[in-house]
Amino acid sequence: MAKKRVMFSPVTRLEGLLSVEVTLDGDRVVNANASSTAFRGFEWIMRDRHVTDAVYMTQRICGICSTAHGAVASYLLDELYDNTLSENAQLMRNIMYASDIIQNHIRHFYLFGLPDYVRMPQRPPFHGQNLSDARLNPKDDQRLLENYFEAIKVSQKSHEILALFGGKAPHQHSFVHGGVSVAPTADKINRALALAKTVSEFVKGKLVPDTELIARAYSDYYQIGVTEGQFLSFGLFRFGPKNERLLLKNGVQKGNRLIPLDIGLINEDITNSWFSTAFEQGSNGKELIPNPYKPGAYTWSKSVTYGGHHYEVGPLARMIINGKYRGGASTMDRIYARTLETVHFTQLMEDWLKRVKPGPAPIEQKKTPVKNKVVATTDAMRGALLHSAWIEDEQVVRYNIITPSVWNFSPKDEYGRLGPAEGALVGTVVPRQEMLFNVLGRIIRSFDPCLQCATHVLDMRGNVKKESLL
């Protein structure tokens, strides 16, 4: 049978703009090109600004995981200025961060994921649903639909916790370098605890059973959308006066082996990305320049590898690296791990809220930088996130960002090797033609794609080595 190319665009129910072109050989996907079709140029935007602007500016990269960018920019500034963090500051930061991750996970499962598996009402914005593979009975459909609407309210409550301490959401204001600007008063803590309890009850009482139900009804998805099972995480939730302790550890998992992380092994490639290189004026280095007309290229995302290999990032990677999940690397594993992580984080958030000591704002910002180049990392909701800055007189000379979706939605590299999401699509068998978008959509969404954050560019000079991360 002749091979057929199909454009899957727009891939809806995700953050940002994504198109995926697949090649089918009969009923089998034999090639996939994932295109991130938006570019904003954030590294250019960051140049020639005061470096402390990074805490608010970089949150504007992504509205769904803005706290993650604010957090990693804060860690970066803490190191640049040699701030010392109090325990209260770290607890408050982590409460805010967890509340944002929890809102993300709940919204992802219900608002973006659920219409892949559940019969929705036939009215906007649910009209035009493809029901060729809807498997739940009407009673279960109805229950999950009710939970969809409840999830809207509960995720709002999780953001209410963030706003109580962060001023607003998205793009919170108080998690900044040197600590947290808000005073954790008893009334705020109590209110946050009450909200956290509501969120936690929903997560245990609805999200977990709903995930289990979908995992049972669609158990074949434990064999669909499988990656090589190579995972990477930068770790999550920092503690200690110098941000030196990670609650969830970082690392690289290959098979059963956990290898310590060395960020010097990260490499980026633009073979299939809409970028060219040019000699930079007044410097010996090369600079990347956007080139939407580049022949053969198909995405604004670059191909990022670690030690020459593509790695999957996200909740599944975190859970496996931290020994909290033993399973495969499939569509359903990704969904299940995200739910288990949500349970874990709601518990952590409640514990931290009980440990915060009411008192003044836990913040102390030093005024003079002690370094001029820093690399900072954390895990965002959907995986590994890196910021690096090179400054002169507190002004940004270079600011670089590697986001989670760049890892998961890497295009093919110079050797033609596929990124995780593309790899998960290739090999998939589509049982009936009318199910094509269902199957592809489920696989793609299990990565919780957020292409907003892949819409930047790094001006890496050739290979990314430790000294050239800047």
């Binding site: 129910r13 809207i152 959401a169 005073a183």
Partner: protein, 327 residues
């Protein structure tokens, strides 16, 4: 009751504490709802160059919650983030809705529009044959729509997407379409401003707009006017560090020239806003955000714009103004 009469009634009766206003308008509101049971605002919502923050902000709407907005207020015909249909089925819905509801639907644009290189920096949909850029989609849909709502500061004024050096040549929706645009700015938009604007369009049509095309309902006064810390400003008592309780002007607050009702409306179920969180307002609803607001933590009068130097400080500021002593 027509809009003018309704407004007049509200103005006249609002100061009275005997619930006369409620009494006077309750019946009107009830009869409107009864008579418009099935009337919902048809909306086509496209996401262009932004961070997705505005659709997350929308999901934080309370009373009505976003779910109620979906079911009771709008017919969200096309929206990349929330619609169930996908791929070419979604594109078909978009084409059909635009043609069948020509002159009736409200177009919501979430994001700026890159102009450079034929707009290829933002492709909202690809087909086997070609790219549909944000530029093309906004031109096409913007000329068919009854109202165009620019949601967030990127769509309203270019925002962060067009911040210097703006290598994608991004602009606001108003620079692409030659028609009236209702700008609902904010980075992100406060859900009340957005949902409130849609509610106004549904019930009363076009809201009154300020000279930047924003509904005066929400942007009519500056943050400074209603700020809880206004008394500190008037006494010249300024914060030295983030976390302090005094006026944030010394730490870069843009309140004196930012139109928004944050001080009393606040965010996320009315719990907080940046100044109450001991941080400066960064002027995210403004025409020149972010470049006119950065460096964020530098006082307004030192940010570099001539306009900002004219902001009048209280007369006694020199004696009590701590931030100037910081050097």
């Amino acid at each position: 009751m027509d809009k003018e009469k309704f407004n007049e009634l509200c103005h006249d009766l609002a100061p009275r504490s005997d619930h006369t206003l409620t009494e006077a308008i309750l019946q009107e509101v009830s009869s409107f709802q009864a008579g418009h049971q099935n009337k919902r605002l048809p909306v086509i919502w496209i996401e262009t160059s932004d961070s997705g923050d505005n659709n997350i902000a929308f999901l934080n709407s309370t009373y009505p919650y976003a779910g109620q907005v979906f079911t009771d207020m709008i017919d969200l015909l096309y929206c990349n983030s929330f619609m169930t249909a996908q791929g070419k089925h979604a594109l078909n819905i978009l084409e059909q809705a635009a043609v069948m509801l020509k002159g009736q639907f409200t177009l919501v644009v979430e994001g700026a529009i890159p102009l450079k290189d034929n707009g290829l920096y933002n492709v909202i949909i690809r087909t086997e044959n070609r790219n549909i850029t944000a530029l093309e989609a906004v031109n096409w849909l913007g000329n068919l729509a009854k109202y165009v709502v620019a949601m967030g500061t990127c769509a309203s004024f270019g925002g962060v997407s067009s911040a210097r050096p703006n290598i994608t040549g991004s602009v606001a929706v108003r620079q692409v379409l030659n028609r009236e645009i209702i700008n609902v700015s904010g980075c992100p938009v406060n859900p009340d401003w957005f949902v409130g604007t849609l509610a106004h369009l549904l019930m009363y049509g076009r809201p009154e707009l300020d000279d930047l095309g924003r509904p005066t309902l929400f942007y009519g006064y500056t943050v400074h006017r209603h700020c809880q810390r206004r008394s500190y400003f008037d006494k010249g008592d300024f914060a030295e560090n983030l976390g302090d309780i005094e006026c944030m002007f010394s730490l870069g607050c843009m309140g004196p020239r930012t139109g928004a009702d944050c001080p009393y409306r606040q965010w996320i179920n009315y719990v907080n806003w940046p100044v109450r969180a001991n941080t400066p307002c960064i002027g995210c609803t403004n025409e020149d955000f972010p470049d006119g607001s950065t460096p964020f933590f530098t006082p307004l009068s030192e940010k570099g714009s001539d306009k900002d130097k004219e902001i009048n400080l209280p007369p006694n500021r020199k004696e009590t103004n701590k931030w100037q002593k910081r050097g």
